[in-house]
Subunit: 355 residues, 2 copies
């Protein structure tokens, strides 16, 4: 599988499946390091290259990646790395640091191995919808197959050793990406975030730490990895997300009940602007698409092509857009090309039964 | 003619004629006072009523008003006075002060006599497009027919005497309402205004002094009435407006040339929002309708019903809207009813040849 094939395939975990309306995807990530080597931040270049070499050999022995796409990071252009980041296949750190890194992605984009990121190994499994358990099962398989070939750094006292102490222990981070336009419209995301923080959970934009919640997409994940079992971490997160989903649906019902015109106004304007604008920034496009997605979920809008909005929510990002255009675009050109793309894709968007 | 008939007739000077695209209407106003009486601000109520009685008798003798609508101001409800103000048939002062006033409007809304406004008499003639000369001709006829019955206060030294010295002399104010979205989009209205101020001309929003230029509608009028002939005042204003019209057309060409996408973006979004919003404030509706009017003029948009946008630019104002609804509406209800009205009226708005 070439990078181009990977790129042409539109983001399986977001687009191809019957995503839950609120819980978009579940992600499990493990931090692992190779025994006998310093962590990447302290390792010599020659050591990093040795690790990379060994992991790449391992990946080539695993069907999952052999049929997918594997590459050294420095062979991927900066724009393609950004595209992988936009698609959640690469972390921001991995995108920005091209030295001695490598990446392996399975054909369906659901399994990812990053080499020499903050840790020697970052394993990631993403599944559509709220499916932490099945992602965790898949991850156990992936982790076990890696461990057959790689000697993990492990302490019987602390568990898996990681560069940053916050990952030590299970090395597990479990997260769910949620679409919360209802709570956002009611200005209730902030209190919810505060409540989750008290429970040791983090709420962030989809790009990871410090990223904004463009498109009302939020990622809820555990903060603590030490002293708790993987099952406990995942079980608790699942329960919290279940509650958040109910909370979001209730928010939508309240919007419909208390501010029906305000809701229709927001959704209608978003559709009207997306269908008629000639210049759209990435943030505006995502925010408006999120409103349209809400409108579709609430039968205020209807559209022929399934998942056209989810696909656009990926495609309007800068690197994806330039890939579609087949050339580099400056920000102004991007805004125009983005508007053109959205206009043509949403031409069939029409009023739904409740509008 | 009843007030209802007058109201139902949709604002002849704005809507019914083939208005010039930029110069919407021309207005001539004369300030006159009745000899032997103090100005309204200093007159006793009994004197004001005497003047009103005499002027009403005069109006009843003139075919122009006998076939139109004549009323004492205090017999018109506050909302209807506001409606007359929104339609430029009443000044703000006349709308707010209901004591001892009266108003006469010709059937076609082009001739108006206000009684006991700032002066005993304010005569107004409005014509569609840039037609100051024909409006002035009509005004001379109106002025002469009034003078046959009313003894005007006149000084051979100062000319017609008026309450405010700025009106003394000819008592003439000539104004043209202009639609300048091109200059506004290029941020060039302010410098133009400064230039006009130096020439002794005022630029204001359509509601008169202190009003905002909602909908990019500006009224250019003379400031000085003393020491110059009526022909001079009108001739100079005509020339300046001619230049402004050219200036506006040039601005539109420049927009098309320099920022074609920006222009299409503004026009497209305006159309998209107006066709899909469920809540619209008066100012937003006027501003967006102005963009649509620009789009129609530049073949970016097309619509079946002629003048539907001009009609909406009157109908979306608060008093007009409540008249259409047939009942009093609070601001939130108005915003929703306004959006409903605009949505239904602009359902047929579509992309034009150049979009």
């Amino acid at each position: 599988m070439t990078l181009q094939e990977l790129i042409d395939h539109p983001c399986a975990w977001f687009v191809d499946h019957a995503c839950g309306e609120v819980a978009i995807s579940s992600r499990i990530r493990l931090a692992r390091n190779v025994a006998g080597y310093p962590f990447p931040s302290r390792a010599e270049p020659v050591q990093l290259r040795e690790i990379r070499h060994n992991v790449l050999r391992t990946l080539s022995q695993l069907d999952l990646f052999d049929q997918g796409w594997v590459s050294e990071t420095d062979e991927v252009s900066a724009r393609d790395r950004m595209l992988l980041f936009e698609r959640s296949l690469m972390s921001r750190e991995h995108m920005e640091n091209e030295e001695s890194g490598a990446i392996g992605v399975s054909r369906d984009e659901q399994d990812v191995v990053m080499v020499n990121e903050e840790d020697h190994l970052r394993l990631q499994v993403v599944r559509p919808g709220l499916s932490l358990e099945s992602a965790w099962e898949e991850m156990q398989t992936l982790d076990a197959s890696m461990e057959e070939h790689v000697d993990y750094a492990f302490s019987s006292k602390y568990g898996y050793l990681t560069c940053c102490p916050s990952n030590t222990g299970t090395g597990l981070r479990a997260g769910v990406m949620l679409h919360l336009p209802g709570l956002a419209l009611l200005d209730e995301v902030r209190p919810v975030m505060r409540g989750l923080a008290k429970m040791g959970l983090a709420v962030r934009g989809p790009g990871g730490e410090g990223s904004d919640a463009d498109g009302f997409l939020y990622q809820v994940s555990n903060q603590v990895t030490l002293g708790r079992s993987e099952q406990d971490i995942i079980g608790e997160l699942h329960q919290v997300v279940d509650e958040l989903v109910t909370h979001e649906y209730n928010a939508r019902l309240r919007l419909e009940e208390v501010r029906p015109n305000g809701l229709r106004d927001k959704v209608g304007r978003a559709a009207g602007i997306l269908q008629n604008a000639w210049e759209l920034s990435s943030k505006e496009a995502l925010d408006l698409l999120a409103m349209v997605r809400l409108g579709l979920a609430m039968d205020l809008l209807a559209v022929e092509e399934e998942h056209v909005v989810e696909r656009l929510m990926i495609e309007v990002r800068p690197a994806h857009l330039q890939k579609l255009a087949g050339k580099e675009l400056n920000p102004g050109e991007r805004d125009r090309f983005r508007a053109l793309r959205v206009r043509s894709k949403l031409a069939e968007l029409r009023k739904g039964p409740k509008l």
